[in-house]
Amino acid sequence: MHAQSLQAILDAGQPVAAHRPWPRFVVTPDIWNTLIEGLADSAWTLLGLWGELGLVHLAVHEEGSGMLGVASLPCPAGCFPSVGRRHPPAQRLERTIADLVGLQPVDAPDIRPWLDHGRWPVRYPLGAATAPTTTMPPYRFLAVEGESLHQIPVGPVHAGIIEPGHFRFTANGEAVARLEQRLGYVHKGIESLLNGATLERAARLVGRVSGDSTVAYALAFARAAEAATETEVPARAHWLRALMAELERLANHCGDIGAICNDAAFALMLAHCAVLREQILRASAAGFGHRLLMDRVVPGGVAADLSVEGVSVLQSLVAEIRRQFPALVTLYDNTASLQDRTAKTGFVKPTLIRQFGCGGYVGRAGGRAFDARRTLGYPPYDVLKFEIPLRTDSDVNGRVWLRICEVEQSLSLIEQILQKLPSGPVRVALKTPGQPCESLALVEGFRGDILLWLRLNGDGTVARCHPRDPSWFQWPLLEAAIEGNIVADFPLCNKSFNGSYSGHDL
């Protein structure tokens, strides 16, 4: 345990007015360094690290006290003490700050560019944007030395229907000695597009950070906008949002369970799970008017109410999945040839999972019991009954089982919501803030916890918005998971993580 509590350390800084619901403090380099030491000692968990012109922000969560806070360090000299030097999970985030904002982490162990591939017409698009004056040298992959090693470069265009990214394998025969990822190929400049956007446009953009998590992202943005403007959302809207979030979790988990088994050449599971997924998407479209539920969660509430017919469609869906799913679970459990591929494959050390504050099924399959729905208890999860499944095997098999357990929990949550759904309005107009205001939101997507930081101008437009995907703290662990495994098991490991490229690249 760290000598001082997070609250005590942050209190030494200058509190920022109108930052809700958790506080933000402008801190000195000394406080900043104390926070870094706390991260390195596992006294608190890194939630996010991002920058803007002349300022770098660090969001942390202290598990014991439940304290969440943001520390902001002014960078008059264009640099800040590296967090990654003492706490590796921050390294890619720092490289991103250097790329997008131009603030340099001092004494950082890795200063290679990350999202900037030298192909944009601008440098530091979120900082003092300038035209590039020099061409970027070719990317240097980390050196791997030893006899009989060979390299396998994969991507950015992959063999399947998946997002682009580059994987550089160094293998010794069949065994992977090192995997190095290079991401950033789908960087769309979303944070720049958000600057100055109206709330309506910003909600659409944030809803497309990662298409598979559109509900969770839209929810994070809506909750942040509502916290900043101190707008109370009607109860029915909270419940409908949770309903959509659970439908999204259900659809993705069903798809993933099938796809993981398919990567072990067990196509039967994929065929059946894909049917379940399709039924969920069709029920979502029948209930809310969009298969993936895009643009349904909006600041102030939801854009589509659920009709009585919609309720019965979703009730039938739950009954149908309850009828079909157990046989698939038994099939998975009883197929030894499949378990032979998934058990003990892609193991991630629980110490790494804790260090990286890794969320979602990757974190919970490795013993880290964090789930924003439970830990923060935002409505209506505070009054719903559900368990947070937890495992310690931390391999592909564990991540499959964790999803199976979460499917069962989501079915129960959907049933409870449909039974207790309060009546009333589903949307209110957002208050115009009048003066700049800020907020932080943390919600549980199917992949893990999504952090979103927001600053609004007085007229209600976005001044700065930073969404942080759960994949930031999962992708690096995939590099660890594959070590010592055979190259042919990489698709299995990768699919069991199902990291987001788009959510990470922004």
């Binding site: 063999a159 769309k188 298409g211 894909a274």
Partner: protein, 167 residues
Amino acid sequence: MHKLLLQNLWRSPMTIPAPAPSEQALAELGAQVDQAARRRLGRSLAIRQVDAGSCNGCELEIHALHNAFYDLERFGFHFVASPRHADVLLVTGPVTANMREALERTYAATPDPKWVVAVGDCGRDGGVFAGSYACVGGVAEVIPVDLHIPGCPPSPTQLLEGLLALL
């Protein structure tokens, strides 16, 4: 008899020059071969999907084409792992600057004749991401596009309708 042979030897042959083949017969035969080929080989397209910066929404719906409800392969479509095996490139996304070269090289690696289908509102003109420093904006900005299938994302049915029009 010798005289007769000698005369024939000195005389030019009576055989008329070969006529050009009948246009009508050729057309008829050609149609038959074409029909046989289409019956045996045709109505089949190999598709290579390229994500050039999408949010992954379009990929989810393209995946859905494989499920038992849509069963894409009954129409002769199948997805291939290499552009060298492809007739069609199915491209999604607003084409990020970081993916531009990969898309160009994938196109160059696809043998002629080839078609390019741009999927989604992003593939048409950049969609919600149009105007970003990091996006080129629309597949047609980078490679020639034969067909657009709009939608955000297009549903599997819309995707099927577009692909069937290509056959």
